[in-house]
């Protein structure tokens, strides 16, 4: 079976700053995968390389077997990305935004699916509103809808719940979990570690451009629990994250 995402020996520098240093990672089809790390760890750079927004200096990356540079058309069709920034085109309505995004991927007559994701993301009442008039939470929903409009098998969400209220976070995770159950591969970056703990089957932690931990969520928690000296209290992913980032051996 072909890997949903394959990253081999990727390195990327921004001038003197080494954003990624020989990163290798494979994410299997159907996984709900967490990519965690502090600000500046290289998460967004790695996502940008997968999306073709940034070119790596060394190494190879592929989506569903398609190299992101050599077979960029196939790779991009296989991938949906929810960007971290709340960006939108102020000229168009929600529906126009989704129709254009669908057309960019060469999909015509996609109205039924556009209607479905508008409904699923509770955007029905705003479908014909200009993007400028939407609240931050609504704009975030449209970003998710744009990433899904071409029905990609692999979906990357770059901090999708940053600045989003509790209600939307819950409905968004229910929707994303359903996509995962339907067979979509989900890659999530977030600073809300309780979300990553409850949703992700496997987690990679990045620090200063290197992978410093890569295991199933259960194993990370188990290993940390076994080493915890006081033996009291429930171990959570935040404890694991803090220990790994501070350099403690697990």
């Amino acid at each position: 079976m072909v890997a949903a995402i394959s990253i081999q020996n990727i390195s990327k520098n921004y001038g003197e700053l080494q954003a990624l240093d020989d990163v290798s990672l494979t994410i299997e089809e159907g996984e709900f995968f967490g990519l965690l790390g502090p600000n500046g760890a290289g998460k967004t750079t790695l996502i940008s390389i997968l999306a073709g927004l940034v070119v790596a200096e060394r190494g190879q990356a592929s989506i569903m077997g398609a190299n992101v540079q050599d077979a960029f058309r196939k790779a991009r069709r296989m991938l949906g990305v929810v960007p971290q920034e709340l960006v939108f085109d102020p000229f168009f309505s929600v529906r126009e935004t989704l129709q254009f995004q669908s057309g960019y991927f060469g999909i015509q007559d996609n109205e039924a699916w556009i209607d479905e994701i508008i409904t699923e993301l509770d955007l029905t009442g705003k479908a014909d509103s200009n993007m400028r008039s939407l609240s931050g939470g609504m704009k975030r929903r449209v970003l998710v809808a744009q990433a899904l409009v071409h029905r990609p098998p692999v979906i990357i969400l770059d901090e999708p719940t940053a600045g989003v209220d509790v209600e939307l976070r819950q409905s968004l995770w229910q929707f994303i979990s359903r996509l995962n159950q339907d067979g979509h591969t989900i890659v999530l970056t977030t600073h809300y570690l309780e979300e990553a703990e409850s949703l992700c089957q496997r987690i990679a932690m990045l620090k200063q451009g290197k992978i410093v931990a890569l295991d199933t969520t259960a194993n990370l928690l188990k290993r940390h629990g076994a080493l915890k000296k006081d033996g009291e209290g429930k171990v959570d992913l935040e404890d694991v994250f803090v220990n790994i980032m501070s350099g403690s051996v697990l």
Binding site: L53, V55, F72, R76, P83, D89, Q101, H150
Partner: protein, 258 residues
Amino acid sequence: MKINPVVYRSGFPTLLRKEVKRFYKVAFQTIAAPVLTAILYLMIFEHVLSDKEMYGRISYAAFLIPGLVMMSVLQNAFLNTSSSLIQSKITGNLVFILLAPFSHFEFYAAYVLASVFRGLVVGICVLIITAWFATPSFESPLWILIFVFLGAAILGSLGLIAGIWADKFDQLSAFQNFIIMPATMLSGVFYSIHSLPDIWQVVSRFNPFFYMIDGFRYGFFGVSDVSPWSSLTIVAAFFVLVAAIALRLLQKGYKLRN
């Protein structure tokens, strides 16, 4: 959502439609305003120079109209690509186009064809409204079409290059005000270069915009400062040059994919 098999076509027609719809949504600013500017130029210059004849037989108003039409086409073609790209870069929504599976040819063709379309819409509006002042003849419509398409495509490509290069609105404004505007205004829109001192005639011949306007004007009157074939050769070569530069920048992802 089930992962259904989907038939993929080129995204080029959608990107072209989006770029056209973008300027159509603000047509008062993108079409009506430049038409008004051209009419004001015509009213002022025609009033001051109404007794002047060009090429020995053409009224100044009739001579000026093709120049104003072409100037409007060129400036608006440049503005369409450059403003669209810089706005998308600065607001960040260019990411939606960069995430899509466009080749650099599709990206280039969609942006430049939309700019040609805007240039033509503005040019036709200027031509229709200025016909109230004078009606130029249409001696060789094919030359008119060739030069207007090539001129608009060149300025659309230059707008793309400027939009890619500029990081801020003031950089784009500098490109427009210190390169495009002087080159357009000094290209013979308002005069024949034979009326200039010798040194400025020589300087004018190094301005590719002069050949766009002179060739375009030949299509109306059947006379021009230089042979239309010479103008076509120079304009076509200039188009190939700017198109090659724009395509290379897009292919490398210069200031777009980094």
